[in-house]
Amino acid sequence: MTSARDEILARVRTALGPNPAPVTVLREYRRSSTMDNVIELFEDRLRDYGATVVHVTPDGVAAAVAEQVRGRVRVAPGLPWLESGPDGPHVGGVAVEVDDGGPAAELDAVDTAVTGAAAACAVTGTIVLDGSPDQGRRALTLVPDRHVCVVHSGQIVGAVPELLARLNPRAPLTFVSGPSATADIELQRVKGVHGPRQLVVIIVADTTGQ
């Protein structure tokens, strides 16, 4: 008996006929942008989605994180601003838990998750997480209701093609454009269904990001 695989592939070949005409893909759309106001635009888009935006210099990150977190806080294991003290780990003086990959149900009791980001895009107000140690596993930024995300200015590109060019396709990628939302009720964008309902983006003005 022919396998489904072989049969489907044979059907496709028959359907296409002996010599399917090759198709040329013209990429005449913009693949790079020449914006000088990338950070401004990124902030504008984020605010449009209902996110909170904070600007800091590199030495102000820990304090900004400390100010933006609420309740029980869990951070990605490789968060650069994590410090250890006699009373356990903290960021900018606020006690935090370090995500250890335990059962996701534990995250339901966490109020705030803190991570870095892999890259960001201004035109669409998008942050991408790729599971690197400073961003942690996907569940960390999903289950808690508040996500505080630190983005370096050098990580922000103008347009979508530039964003994708910066990513590792084989990493587990999550594109976040504002807080969780739905348009399912009368097509109005309503903030907050299953993902974090509060998104805080801390933009670090430096060039060490990437």
Partner: protein
């Protein structure tokens, strides 16, 4: 019924065939004024938002052309692209299954769920699993499927049917949704209001426990990248992320036409899709995964590649571009017929203009002979389509195929449908306005300005697509006189 000997989607399973022919179901829908008001209000909102966000993009036309070309290129090389996808998914720790049709796909998914011992699954909104009737197949095996998309939840709790491919509960307003939740959502607060944030909160609370306890998730796919084996889901609420991340086993069902060659191709579709679908610069969440990742997400990943009439669609050179569809719903939102009758009348999970061309091809036109007539050929769908599918020309082509397959028995239905569309002067002029607007936006080739009677009454004020080989009158005259001839 086959096209070039290619099997179509089987009868008796899934949701591609309605209980009543389109003209009958449409007439019934026309009497429901609440339905019409809900849909009119919603599509008006989305049309305005989409138009504003498309206008923001100076390279929109270039993106559309690139999207069209990438899809055409993929189909032309489909065997090699599918095999590459299989290799890459397998190399990344996933398992690939092939399903000739709905029955086979349902059997594969059911046995995968049974192997885990689970008796329930959480689901991400997916057109393809509705197309194959997966929930019903799982139920028959004693497995409960929980829909987690807000609109799908509204439909499921209301024992209703989806009526739009992006916003399945578009036919419900907030008050009706509140009533459904109060009636059918376990543990819901009795004083729930119709305030949308409160309705969203109710869904959040209800589903959270399910997400945290579910062991198996089932999804569709928006795109799958052959080069890397990466699967992509575009969503808003985070229910998709929950399903893709928390359960131990993830089963994704996708039509074979969803594959794209390279990761860089996503730069086109991730710009076209959100603006066209929900009128947003970007949807809140897009997830991409490649096989399995240790310590992050499911331990097992299965990808089911489905035919179910797609190769039959591919076999028709004048119809295959329907497989380019990225399911954005824009053509539904601009369609005067859809706006008037809603999604249920089409009898298929794919309603509106795209439904009128994809459904008859998946099932064979003999099983859905009325659908190609469920249109005024006003051309608004082509102008809205982010991948430039020429739906009007395809409709004319499929009308010819329908007449060839059904013979004279279709005559009454055809004239019924035309007479029915002509009956509303207001709708008429709205369609004409849309078509005029369309002409301002883009120059058309392959158009003629007049169709012969009876469609001439439609074409006096605007262009209609040029029928591919014969004029409408010619194919009408040359249609076989014996039922069942042709095809």
């Amino acid at each position: 019924m086959t096209f070039l000997g290619m099997p179509t989607a089987p009868r008796g399973v899934g949701r591609l065939r309605g209980d009543a022919p389109f003209p009958v179901a449409a007439r019934a829908a026309l009497t429901d004024t609440q339905l019409r008001r809900n849909i009119g209000h919603a599509t008006e909102t989305i049309r305005a938002r989409r138009a504003a966000l498309v206008a923001e993009m100076p390279d929109w036309e270039q993106l559309r052309r690139a999207g069209e070309a990438i899809k055409a290129d993929t189909l032309a090389r489909l065997p090699e692209v599918l095999v590459q996808l299989e290799e890459q998914v397998t190399a990344a720790g996933g398992t690939v299954h092939w399903a000739r049709d709905a029955i086979e796909a349902n059997a594969i998914v059911t046995s995968l769920v049974q192997a885990t011992g689970a008796d329930e699954v959480v689901k991400i909104k997916s057109m393809v699993t509705q197309e194959i009737g997966l929930n019903e197949a799982l139920a028959a095996a004693g497995i409960t499927a929980h829909e987690t998309d807000l609109a799908e939840l509204i439909v499921q709790l209301g024992h209703d049917r989806p009526s739009h491919i992006v916003v399945p509960a578009i036919h419900r307003n907030r008050t009706e949704i509140r009533d459904i939740f109060r009636r059918a959502m376990p543990g819901v607060r009795p004083d729930l209001t119709d305030d949308p944030p409160q309705l969203a909160e109710a869904a959040r609370t209800y589903l959270r426990r399910k997400f945290l306890s579910a062991r198996v998730a089932v999804s569709g796919a928006n795109f799958a990248v052959a080069e890397t084996g990466t699967v992509v889901i575009v969503e808003s609420e985070g229910n998709g992320r929950m399903c893709l991340t928390l359960p131990e086993v993830l089963i994704t069902v996708m039509g074979i036409e969803k594959v794209i060659p390279t990761f860089a191709d996503l730069e086109v579709f991730l710009q076209l899709l959100p603006r066209s679908a929900t009128g947003e610069r970007m949807n809140p969440y897009t997830s991409m995964w490649t096989g399995v990742t240790a310590g992050d997400g499911p331990r097992e990943f299965h990808l089911v590649l489905l035919d179910n009439g797609r190769t039959a669609t591919l076999a028709d050179p004048d119809g295959r571009a329907a497989l380019h569809c990225i399911r954005c719903g824009a053509c539904l939102n601009v369609c005067p017929v859809y706006e008037r009758v809603g999604g249920h009348a089409y009898g298929s999970v794919y309603p509106g203009p795209i439904g009128a061309v994809i459904t008859p091809q998946l099932t064979g036109v003999a099983d859905n002979p009325d659908l190609p007539f469920a249109s005024t050929l006003c051309g608004a769908c082509f102008d809205a389509c982010p991948v430039r599918i020429d739906i009007p020309s395809m409709l004319v082509h499929l009308r010819a195929r329908a007449v060839a397959s059904k013979g004279a028995s279709l005559e009454r239905g055809v004239f019924g449908a035309i007479a029915w569309t002509l009956r509303s002067p207001r709708r008429f002029s709205a369609a004409i306005r849309l078509a005029r607007l369309g002409r301002l936006l883009g120059r058309r080739r392959d158009r003629i300005s007049r169709l012969p009677w009876p469609l001439s009454r439609w074409t006096v004020a605007r262009d209609a697509p040029r029928p591919p080989r014969q004029s409408l009158r010619e194919w009408w005259r040359s249609r076989p006189t014996k039922p069942g001839a042709g095809e």
